[in-house]
Amino acid sequence: MASIDINQVSKIYDKGGAKAVDNIDIKINDGEFIVLVGPSGCGKSTLLRMVAGLEGISAGTISIGDRVVNDIEPADRDIAMVFQNYALYPHMTVYDNLAYGLKNRGTPKGEIEVRVAEAAKMLEIEKYLDRKPRALSGGQRQRVAMGRAIVRKPAAFLFDEPLSNLDAKLRVSMRGEIRKLQRRLKTTAIYVTHDQLEAMTLADRLVVLNGGVIEQIGTPLEVYHKPASTFVASFIGSPAMNLLKGKVEGRKLRVGEFELALLEHNAPDGPVTVGIRAEELKVCDLQHATLSFEIDSIEELGAQRLVHGKIDGQDLTAVVASSIELGSHLHLTVGAAHLHLFDHDRGKRIEPPVAGAASTTEKADLAFA
């Protein structure tokens, strides 16, 4: 239980090479659950491993609690790490895997037993305590890896894609367990994942990385509703936010032949990227439609389906409930409050002039729904 302060940290692997992590600043509060997301190679693991002490820090400082840990051995940092491939000790029983870190810290035998029993119960692996890892299924191994972290009661948990080797169903349930556990133990946690659902459901705050730099830090909903850039917009949310090239003309936005009304905004007239979440596109009849397209393909997801088509030559996807019957064309409407504007070149979000305007209109929007 400690805060973690990542202060202007950079990492360069090879002398003269590019920065794998570039001048990153994150202040993590005690007990907070931080999720790092970003595409492959963006530096998530590198950052995590610097916190763990498995990788040297090229510049900047990392503090855990009030202590700068740059030069402190991993074992002395009071952290526990869960690895993607579990990294269980293959020659030890599950019990010994759990007990190993405690033994090395000179925890009395009696206490080790109590703690291991506790963790094993929590994770429902009591039956397997005498087995070697090779005799466990993937999900069970995963739980042992978790157990190894929690018995230690460390100041912080570090997770590097701990669920990515599991199948979808197990992933959902393990995700819930991890969240519950962390809430219960109130241990600060940093969690690396590729998986958006994990990112959204687990995080107190999300950190979106891209190419070694931070694109956005915020709560999942902030990030979802106000993506700071087209990168974040396309990365968070499934299906990915539709991004269309358009043109601002005063209070109007033109996308191909369509014209959409805009709220107050700061964008000068000219080209702009507009983002629209697939689920904000509502089906309506031709008269009320602000957007229409011919249906290219449909993916059935059960209760909903994804409808794909093209507007102005650009791909567009809408989410439509299975209960609605579809013709060959889809007619859609979208609230002005649900249009995200990004500047054309750098993809940065363009905010409305009054802070919070979006969220008030959002609530207003609800009244109509």
């Binding site: 002490g53 498995l54 990788e55 040297g56 051995e73 991993p74």
Partner: protein
């Protein structure tokens, strides 16, 4: 973790000195004259006889026929080393292939027949083996030098381990792609085994190159003499009443070390990789 540890380097340097010191000394010594070495022993400085000694060892014809030079002996050693290594690789890949990839009745029996030989060296059965060789009329031939050394399972063992680590899907994919047992072996398995082949090649080449008792017994024609035999020949004077040509022995020893060292150094990255893969 990322700090440079001084003691590590000290230990490694000590290790390198322990391992390589004698080789340097051997080389230095080989550049002195025989009488000097006889009276003063090993040398740690360069002597004056480097060129004449090595020239003599390499190019001057010796023996009765006047045909054996260091070079021809080295050539024979090379034939023995390479022939043995290649033979070993071919035989043992085929055998390992049969054992790992086929279901057949006498699999277990074949396995044990082969692996019983794993640790029994030629020295222990040298006389009966000689008899067999002469019955087959293989004395004084390269086949005679090489074949009996092949009768052991070390290579088969390495390849068996390696083949077991090759993913099953490759075989399945190949079968669906229409590859039969021969095609799979040639097109897929052999190319896949490259690093393992390199590793086994080194181990076997060194083993073959270093043979000396068997070539000594086997060859009576000077054209088949190997380097190791040459060294032994020089040294046997040691036990008689003359001074051996130490300088030549050392020079030959140095020459005798070179090809295997070159092979090892050139292939070493493959070597370690091959072994690592087989460890999986």
């Amino acid at each position: 973790m990322y700090r440079i540890k001084l003691t590590d380097h000290l230990i490694l340097i000590a290790g390198v000195i322990f391992m390589l010191g004698p080789l340097v000394v051997a080389f230095m010594t080989s550049t002195h004259s025989a009488a000097e070495i006889h009276t003063q022993g090993l040398m740690i400085s360069m002597g004056d006889d480097f060129i004449p000694t090595y020239e003599k060892v390499l190019f001057e014809s010796g023996g009765f026929t006047g045909q054996v030079t260091g070079l021809t002996m080295a050539m024979n050693s090379l034939i023995l080393g390479i022939g043995f290594a290649v033979g070993k690789i071919v035989l043992s890949m085929m055998a390992a292939y049969a054992i790992v990839y086929f279901r057949f009745r006498f699999a277990t029996l074949s396995f044990w027949l082969i692996f019983t030989t794993l640790l029994l060296p030629l020295e222990v059965r040298i006389l009966p083996t000689y008899k067999v060789m002469s019955d087959l009329n293989l004395l004084n031939s390269y086949q005679g030098l090489i074949l009996p050394l092949l009768a052991s399972a070390t290579g088969t063992f390495f390849f068996r381990q390696f083949f077991k680590s090759v993913p099953d899907e490759l075989l399945e994919a190949a079968r669906i792609d229409g590859a039969g047992p021969f095609k799979f072996f040639i097109d897929i398995l052999v190319p896949l085994s490259r690093t393992m082949i390199a590793a086994v090649f080194i181990i076997m080449f060194v083993y073959g190159w270093n043979q000396y008792l068997w070539p000594m017994l086997m060859t009576t024609e000077e054209s088949f003499y190997t380097l190791m035999r040459g060294i032994k020949q020089i040294l046997q004077v040691w036990i008689g009443s003359q001074i051996p040509d130490y300088n030549e022995a050392f020079a030959m020893a140095v020459l005798g070390m070179l090809p295997p060292i070159i092979v090892v150094v050139v292939f070493q990255s493959w070597f370690i990789k091959g072994l690592t893969e087989s460890d999986k």
